[in-house]
Amino acid sequence: MSKGLSFTFSILLLLTTALPFNSFAAPESNQDKEENSKASITDEEFFEEDGFGESEEVTKISDPLEKINRPVYKFNRVIDNVVVEPVARGYRAAIPGWGRERVRSFLKNLKVPLTLFNSVLQGDVDNSFHSFWRFTINSTLGVGGLFDIASYGNLSNREEDFGQTLGVWGMNAGPYIMWPVLGPSNIRDSLGMTGDYFADPFHYTHSWEFEDSRNVLTVIDTREQFLDLLDDIDKTSLDPYATIRSLYIQKRDSDIKNGSYTLKTNK
């Protein structure tokens, strides 16, 4: 009894004395430093800096190919105006929302095996399991992926591609590239796209007719999804090429970090 009590007391004593050292002292010295740097840096000085501690990919955009990229962007927009956008608008007008959602759901389900593959490569256990069960449930109960049943069971997953995997592995994005027809990319994502092309099981199991129709549907579905965003950019942006470049780089950076926009914190 007395042994037990003294143990309790010694723990308590340890806690009350050690706690300030362990948990307050260390952050405090840090915080002091923060306070000092905060106090010494004025807004004016801060505006000259790179921002709130985002990665360099976001704050220092690398676009040495701009002289080639800009004409390619213009070319892409012409193709878009003539072919892709009208088709996407027609699709939105002709097919009701419910139908479009089925198509999107179906296409997204086809991408889940790739997500599973990449989640495993990234060592992301949660997302690997989620993708596996998502694909199993939606392909069967969800009638070949037409219905996203899995999300009702909170089995949502993030899409992972090989570009993100390379990012997780530590590869830099490299220069921004505007590919003809395919659109915005960078070195890392171009490699990623190639990797995914060969890693996609449907590439081997299904006919080229299936693959072609899937690609055409994907383009229409994606463009329909971007109708409002691109309209908005055209309406508000002073330089749509620069806006799209910035959006692409930030979005990919955030995808690699799995959507969590994190501040540099004190800890």
Binding site: K3, E34, G51, K235, T236, A242, K251, G259, T265
Partner: protein, 205 residues
């Protein structure tokens, strides 16, 4: 003897757990909680204005008022100018800041007006290194998947001001900084102001 010892171990561990779980987060949470509270109130205020709006014009006027009160457009403008703050003339800067406020209003107020069936939930908050705070929210739409929107805040006079809106990982500050910076670098500050004038005038027509 042994069971009692076991019990005291248990007590000790429980006390440890209690102390660690109660004291430590409480110390760090108070400011981020205030930041969360601020966004909750702001969101509710905007939703009330949208739902009770008698007509389009009064709704827009009210939203503009909230916008001017809660969003530090001058600070955002200076951040967006970045290192060019130093090299441009005071007149250019004053003109830019005036135009930029209108530019942001035109970009955001119509978007907020579209919010009708949406609800939002605060999912987290963090304190940043620069004395800034990030409040993370999820907006649930009647159709489609929820959208992640984060707000960056800076403390201002006992409360906060919004200095950035980050939608799906894309920050308005960073987007405008890189877009405007590219224009200033290639065409100059006057060209940027001229482009802004054109946008703002076209939109008000």
């Amino acid at each position: 003897m042994i069971p009692i010892m076991k019990r005291s171990y248990l007590i000790a561990i429980t006390i440890c757990a209690l102390i660690f779980s109660q004291i430590l987060p409480a110390q760090a949470a108070s400011e981020t909680d205030q930041a969360k509270h601020y966004i909750q109130q702001l969101g509710d205020k905007v939703l009330v204005v949208i739902k009770n709006g008698s007509n389009d014009r009064t709704t827009e006027e009210k939203l503009t008022k909230i916008f001017d009160q809660e969003i530090d457009t001058a600070w955002i403008g200076k951040f967006v100018l970045g290192r060019y703050n130093r090299t441009i003339t005071p007149q250019q800067k004053t003109e830019f800041l005036k135009l930029y406020r209108k530019f942001l209003l035109d970009a955001y107020v119509p978007k907020f007006k579209e919010y009708t069936g949406e609800t939002f939930k605060i999912t987290g908050a963090q304190a940043g290194q620069r004395g800034d705070y990030l409040v993370q929210t999820k907006i649930f739409r009647p159709q489609g998947e929820p959208v992640l929107v984060d707000y960056r805040l800076k403390p201002a006079g006992g409360s906060f001001k919004v200095i950035d809106i980050i939608a799906e990982g894309v920050s308005t500050l960073n987007t405008h900084r890189s877009e405007f910076g590219s224009i200033i670098a290639s065409e100059g500050m006057d060209a940027l102001n001229k482009k802004l004038v054109n946008k703002v005038i076209v939109k008000t027509k």
